[in-house]
């Protein structure tokens, strides 16, 4: 045996010294991050501090409610979505049931919060329905009701990508959200308590259905275009599928037609972290502390998926955070590393998590991220749903066999190495074959990868769509490019929308 020869070379005691772990040693190690000799961790303590702030803020507000004259304003960290909101958006209430994709029982009724920009033409033919990403509100741009900048401020306005001189733009808070639309934090009619996790699992299609009920109420029959980024891209495609005759054009930016396992994995990690927070309490936390720690941790993970490594290389590199204790930008004996953040990239994630953790409802995050995972426009997946294209799209043209027989878009030959599920996806997306579609992807996006963008374009073309515009953007902004690259994203949209229908 090989080791025996080694044993022979050395005294056995040298190899098997008794482990004198309890021997006294005069060497003393100064613990870092210590108070009175015990290590402490400000990044961990932050969770308890935040909890105290929430409790104090709620008490203060309740006290103010009992003594309305005390003049104290509520500036504490209680979730803003849980507070009574001023009328900074419009709310459509639908008192009838809404059929859902996965449950035979419909949602009994629902509210949809929405905002609009531009002027509706007399023919009502200039409407753009703008779909949001996961956690955005209807506040895509400033309005007179709410002058704060919106999440797509630079893309909406006179002469901008969504030109308010031409178009009437509607943006809703999605069904399942917490910014005025019905979601898990809303009151369940039957129990008169917040739905919590008794809220039904909803789909992207359900969200879109609710939006079209709103359009019905506004007398809008046909959209000039359905536009969305990220989850909004999914909704944009779903709108064309559900209502082929009511959608003039589709814009899908950094979306997908079929959530990939890597994206599901990243969202699952977020949901796991959130649901493991004891404050989540199986989704029934509305009369107690929200799962603010889980929300912060989930957002940190999400933030990693929204940007790209090259951007962080440029923006943060290995720069250290500034501290009150040390001016040096080098770790060493003069500035000992901590187990809490040392690097700017760490404080960036920490900050993003902290900013978000009380701004959004945890259950909404869970339900909407789940809806994203579930999204799959493949024919077999769509067939299993309760909902169908309306008016009923001719099933003759949407079977896999049909698509296999149809020729591929004449302008583009089939891809050389298509994924095996592409024909199923093309079959599922057949209802979109006559709708001009802009697909835009970003090469540095790790959440909705460029392969998923190519897949959308390939499937549409395989379904026979001759009017697919497809662009890929470079740059270092990753998934968030749609929020940041006003020039490239904006111009692609403007160009596409300007083509006469």
């Amino acid at each position: 045996m090989a080791f025996n020869s080694l044993l022979k070379s050395f005294p056995r005691t040298k190899l098997r010294l008794p482990r004198a772990r309890f021997s006294s040693s005069s060497a003393h190690l100064s613990p870092r991050n210590t108070t009175c000799g015990q290590p402490h961790f400000p990044c961990v303590d932050a969770h308890a501090v935040r909890a105290s702030r929430i409790i104090a803020s709620v008490s203060q507000r309740r006290s103010a409610e009992y003594n309305p004259g005390n003049g104290q304003s509520d500036t504490g960290p209680e979730p803003p979505y849980a507070r009574p909101t001023p009328a900074s958006y419009h709310t459509y209430h639908h008192p009838q049931p809404l059929s859902l994709s996965y449950t035979t029982t419909p949602l009994p009724s629902f509210d949809l919060a929405y905002e609009t920009w531009g002027t509706l033409s007399p023919a009502k033919d200039n409407v753009i329905l703008l779909h949001t990403g996961l956690s955005a509100s209807s506040h895509a741009a400033s309005t007179s009701l709410n002058p704060a900048p919106g999440w797509w401020e630079k893309f909406i306005g006179p002469g901008k990508a969504l030109d308010t001189n031409k178009f009437f733009i509607i943006c809703t808070n999605v069904l399942g959200g917490c910014y005025g639309s019905t979601g898990p934090s809303s009151i369940e009619p039957e129990t008169e308590k917040p739905w919590g996790t008794r809220f039904p699992v909803i789909s992207i299609f359900d969200m879109v259905q609710a939006q079209f009920v709103l359009l019905d109420s506004l007398g809008i029959n046909k959209l000039y275009a359905s536009v969305g980024c990220s989850m909004g891209g999914m909704q944009s495609l779903a709108a064309g599928w559900l209502y082929p005759s009511r959608v003039g054009k589709i814009v899908s930016i950094s979306g997908t037609a079929r959530s990939a396992p890597s994206s599901i994995a990243m969202r699952y990690a977020q949901r796991s972290v959130l649901m493991a927070d004891p404050n989540w309490n199986n989704g029934f936390y509305y009369d107690g502390l929200p799962p603010h720690t889980g929300m912060k941790l989930a957002r940190q993970i999400a933030t990693i998926t929204y940007r790209s490594g090259p951007e962080w290389d440029q923006r943060f590199g290995r720069q250290l955070r500034e501290t009150s204790e040390s001016n040096t930008q080098k770790l060493g004996p003069d500035r000992m590393p901590a187990l809490c953040p040392d690097f700017l990239i760490e404080t960036y994630l920490d900050h993003q998590g902290e900013q978000f953790c009380l701004k959004y409802d945890a259950n909404s995050l869970i339900y909407i991220s789940k809806a994203m995972d579930l999204f799959d426009m493949s024919y077999p997946a769509l067939e299993a749903l309760q909902i169908k294209p309306m008016p009923e799209y001719s099933r003759n043209t949407s079977s896999t066999e049909q698509v296999h027989k149809t020729s591929h878009s004449k302008s583009h030959p089939p891809p050389l190495n298509p994924p095996s599920h592409l024909p199923d996806l093309a079959a599922g997306m057949a209802p979109l074959k006559d709708i001009p579609t802009l697909v835009l992807g970003v090469q540095s996006d790790i959440l909705f990868t460029v392969e998923q963008q190519r897949e959308i374009a390939d499937a549409l073309r395989m379904a026979g769509n001759e009017n697919v515009s497809y662009y890929e953007l470079g740059g270092v902004w990753g998934h968030d490019t749609f929020l940041l690259d006003v020039l490239n994203v904006g111009s692609a949209i403007r160009g596409f929308l300007s083509i006469a229908p």
Copy 2:
């Protein structure tokens, strides 16, 4: 105002219906995942179930200790690293202090667990020091003491990449680990209690220093090669830097010379999740429940970084997990989605987390992942450390100015668009300029990206190293390629090691 014109088009009541949220509705929604009408979540309950199992297992073992004759074996989930281990590896005890990179106070003493394969040559010139990744033990391959397969089983043995017919291979559990080497779960000599977070922050260099103390004790002066993958790649480079005259060759596979912000971000997310687990208790959990939930969640995040999207596309796609309740592979009314895992990719992450959460010490994970973040071979970063190359490497040749003056490796012109920190990195890595080095990277690796591999090769060449072998591998296995691609990884190593020194 644009919206006013819309208001005029519709009766105001239609837009501003009172929100009749409390209206009674006869529609009843069947909650999914419910017991007696209340939703329940097996994936969340799993944490409490695990806690109960740990407690039961500890009680059972304590009871067995008091009544040693009761014959009950301990098969429970108490962390195995916390149990007394059989002599399945060797332990070197170093009773003297070890100087550290970041603290002026040394580690008072340390143990290092190690295993060996092959036969030490009489001249002791055939030694390969194999460095592990983050959480691996010294058990790289089966031995007579421990016949279980090791983590690099297929790479070590007669005729394999690390050929035991030629080489004597040593692998240690790193300093800071929990598989027999001194780490945060070890007893602090001064307090006679586990170190916990009183353990000093250590560096990759400190780990390597401890390994060379072991080599000293074995009478081994010079390594034939220093070989490592992932964090082991960092150690492999660090060995060449600390002991330029004692390292014959370097192999760095999917490592880095300078942790990138994206890698730090992914590890920070893991540490945050772990440290937020109340059971972590600032690192002092050794007499209570370990932070098993945080460990599971952290491992789920880590798992995402170890593989690649394309692999999961092929392996899991959108397949659903098998359930006892339903045979269908389609989600719909017959198989309603849950908020717990539906997709195979989710159960895969869940399983990986569950498997790991009691196998490794949480503090070791925190300290070692932090050591990876801190790793930076740039000249300014190295200059701030306590430790220096031994014997003292001539500082004349390691300044940035010197490297700027030296010509780039003759075999390779400088890269066209080098990152701005490359000259600093080359200056820092100057002590390695005479050591033949194999750098191997994987294009689908999202944790140690291929850009980081190119950076190592470029910096070494810029430092004047004429013997840099550089390969990139394709494939879909991501960071884990070094564990899986025996043919390509193994052949590159064999070829490189076979070159006469």
